[in-house]
């Protein structure tokens, strides 16, 4: 048994950029799979909706396709869902504030951020 062999290989050959690239691609593919699954749609249905061949859609869903923004936008439109979500300004402002040391999180601005976040993103606590 060589319980650490895989980790040694990853450390030696997988760059953080490559790891992040595969992670993003697989997660986008998984998200599309989940949406299709929820709606009872097959890959063939999805290919027809997108006006693409089944082989092309299958490649997208394999998680190694280098998606362009144009493809993601077309998928968003066809599925009427956001496949990839970029945080809005208020969200990342609040998150970055929470990451600060507690001494920096006091004051009116912090209170405003907390109030604004809870008001607009209360679903996050549901």
């Amino acid at each position: 048994m060589k319980p650490n062999f895989m980790q040694q290989c990853y450390d030696r050959f997988v760059t953080p950029e490559k790891q992040e690239f595969i992670k993003l691609n697989v997660e986008i593919a998984n998200r599309i799979y989940d949406i299709l699954d929820e709606r009872g749609l097959s890959q063939r249905d999805f290919a027809r909706m997108m006006g693409k061949t089944e082989a092309e859609v299958s490649r997208w869903l394999s998680g190694t396709h280098n998606f362009t923004m144009a493809t993601i936008a077309a998928i968003n439109i066809v599925l009427n869902e956001n496949v990839l979500v970029v945080p809005e300004k208020e969200q990342y402002q609040f998150v970055s504030l929470m990451e600060m040391p507690s001494s920096h999180r006091c004051g009116r601005r912090a209170k405003y951020n907390k109030y604004h976040f809870e008001k607009n993103y209360s679903y996050a606590n549901e």
Binding site: K2, Y10, F13, T15, K18, V26, L61, S62, G63, T64
Partner: protein, 163 residues
């Protein structure tokens, strides 16, 4: 004629248990040989990184069919990495069981003029060896289905394969 092989465990405590094939009398498993051969060649380091990044994601996620390319016959469990044919010249052949057991075999370079693995004697050798291991492993799982359920407790697995 029969041959003894060991499936050597290469990770622990992950969502997918990873093994490689160690033939009797040898000190290095097939995946180790693959890494040593292509990891030493600058021309293939990038391709090797693509394959390893994919295995890393599979290990954290699951060994679902969509992460691999189908090879061999549909009833067999033989797959290849990477799944997208354009991304790499390197091929690594493997076996998948129940989305939680991944057995890494050998692999090599698939040239442009090579349409399928059968066209290349070296790739054919790797796939045919995995076909024999697949027969023994499938029989093992049929006899003892708990292998799939308790995949994370598995250590090295001994198999007898037909030559």
């Amino acid at each position: 004629m029969t041959k003894h092989v060991t499936l050597e465990r290469l990770n622990s405590d992950q969502k997918v248990a990873i093994f490689s094939v160690l033939y009797d009398g040898e000190t290095k498993n097939e995946f180790q040989k693959f890494i040593e051969k292509y990891g030493a060649d600058d021309a293939y380091k990038d391709d090797l990184g693509i394959i390893l990044a994919r295995i890393q994601k599979v290990e954290m996620d699951c060994a679902a069919d969509r992460h691999f390319r189908y090879e061999g016959k549909m009833r067999e469990h033989i797959r290849a990495l990477p799944p997208n044919i354009e991304s790499s010249k390197l091929r690594l052949y493997c076996l998948c069981y129940g989305e939680c057991i991944l057995i890494l075999g050998g692999g090599g370079i698939k040239e442009k003029e090579t349409r399928t693995w059968q066209d290349d004697p070296q790739l054919t050798k790797y796939v045919e060896e995995l076909q024999k291991i697949d027969m023994a492993m499938s029989q093992n799982i049929r006899r003892n289905p708990s292998v799939i359920r308790e995949y994370n407790q598995l250590m090295d697995i001994d198999l007898i394969i037909n030559e």
